[in-house]
Amino acid sequence: MPAFDVANRIRDALDDIKAADLDDPRLMEVLSLAENLVETMKIFFGSIDHSVIDEFQHIAQYINRTREEIAALRPNDIHGSRIPTAGAELEAVVGDTERATENIMTLAEDIMAADASDPVAYKEKVDNAMMQMIEACSFQDITGQRVSKVVATLSHIEERVSRFAEVMGVLDAESEETDKEKWQNENLLNGPQLDGPATGQEAIDALFDGETSEAALGQDDIDNLFD
């Protein structure tokens, strides 16, 4: 029962006692004090109750909304199905490209090692090998489809996570690097850039040939060496 209602019931009880026309002045004095106390409590608890109730209602609404947004994320679907499938697709891409490269290189090595003294037999061997190389190149179509599925999964996750972060007003927390991540960031390069090499072979050649000095590469580049 809210404190506000309790205060009302106590005040009603006091009114009943006073209406009973009791003669003891000390009792009337106590009742008067009690009435003042109840009035004070009523005001106090009334204000507390409303603010607490409002706060709890706000929290309850927020929890409900969060649950709905988390449900909209479909975390079980992402964790149990989409991510494992995407991982399997990428592993398959690596496997497909590795097998195709292996096939093509083996065929190329066979041709290079082939006896060319019999032109007819040599041509037949080369033709067969070339046809198998062309067949091996069909991996590109399959891997393209696999990569498209992975891209679709990433888009799906990105869209839902972004919406969740926006609706919930989530800000990025500071992240801590593991020891392995720290070592990798300090020692390994990031791999191929999307728009081709950051510094082309010609610029590198010029640097090694002495045609370009380190200073000509820009202060930022030099600064990065000491950062």
Partner: protein, 129 residues
Amino acid sequence: MAVDMNMPVLVVDDYKTMCRIMRNLLKQLGFSNVDEAADGAEALQKMQSGKDFGLVISDWNMEPMTGYELLKQVRSDEKLKGTPFIMITAESKTENVIAAKRAGVNNYIVKPFNAATLKAKMSSVLGSF
């Protein structure tokens, strides 16, 4: 001075396919004495075991020891410091190229590359062949 086409060449790369490509390219260029290592640590062990490699061609990105760390270790080893060293990487940020040059790399090749580029860089390091 003529280049010794029988000299041992050490290819350092953690991708077996890349090692195989390098072995074929080197064979095409006339170098058949090719050895392989999967990372800097294995390469350094091979180099310190006594085999006198005439050239090291190394990738940068390898664990646990990178090609850059291998380069620094080679250049600080009294017996190995004169070994010609070519770095090959898929990434070529200027600061990385400069860092490798300062550490003593003889040349730097950006992936993907072809036999002509490899021959040109090897020639600049070893002399014409």
